[in-house]
Symmetry: C2
Subunit: 175 residues, 2 copies
Amino acid sequence: MENQIDMKALFSLSYGMYIVSTASEGKLNGQIANAVMQITADPIHITTCLNKENMTCGMIQKSGFFGISVLELDVPMTFLGLFGFKSGRDIDKFADTKYIMGPTGAPLVTDWTLSVFDAKVTNTIELPTHILFVGEIVSASSIKDAKPLTYADYHLVKKGKSPKTAPTFGFNALK
Amino acid sequence: MENQIDMKALFSLSYGMYIVSTASEGKLNGQIANAVMQITADPIHITTCLNKENMTCGMIQKSGFFGISVLELDVPMTFLGLFGFKSGRDIDKFADTKYIMGPTGAPLVTDWTLSVFDAKVTNTIELPTHILFVGEIVSASSIKDAKPLTYADYHLVKKGKSPKTAPTFGFNALK
């Protein structure tokens, strides 16, 4: 087998769509991410991976905690745009957003959300463009019963794009 | 918000279903995993997380490389059982399985598979029960055009169970 990379092959991986949030120096912030998964069951660890250029990434490095909101299928593109294509450097993403405070101090977005949890960072890996965060779950709550938005739905149903800082940048070009 | 953990909240995360494979000391082996994702785009890194009790985990620690096969929706339960509920310590999982050799040396299963890729391990994190592997992609190929099997499909459509070594053990009890 040859040493070639067919990007279409990588886009067959399945993901949900999430808001990853944190708080640092009195500021609340968060971003859309697809790279979130549970990796151990006892104790429960989850992982996410964020681009170093994104404000949320640097804030989690400072705070040492993060929240996750699992987005529902019916979430409107305007809401995804607020958290996915705007920067907390320019606007307060939480000004008109419903959220609850997790025990870690992370603001957990509850708009268009199936469930929320928050975690304390236990390990990090610095990659060339991104930081991978591993955290131990501190709290987890169900918010509503509905279908989750998958990354495939986002591209195929909602015709969504990926910003250049996404781990899977280029996905929309091939779907 | 209280410091409680509702497991149902964690089960709203979305995953695909994969075979993670490797080769070490002349032996080919692999296992079913749901915890696989792409985490960077340039260069391309992926991550997976395997239980230390599973033979594949120890073999990747020795070999330093792993392959991923993205399973299709139509994969039969007998095939999932072979890779998910049997151990390479007892049987040769590759004896009657179609595969190609990736450039790293990982055997890439092509039965019931949408796409395959292989990666060299660049980073690991040791957690209490699991090892998280981060690898840089060496090759990626599309095998067939079909729907991927998601973890939700596995539980809801196929009525599949999770072994006790799964990161998401307990999932089937609540679905």
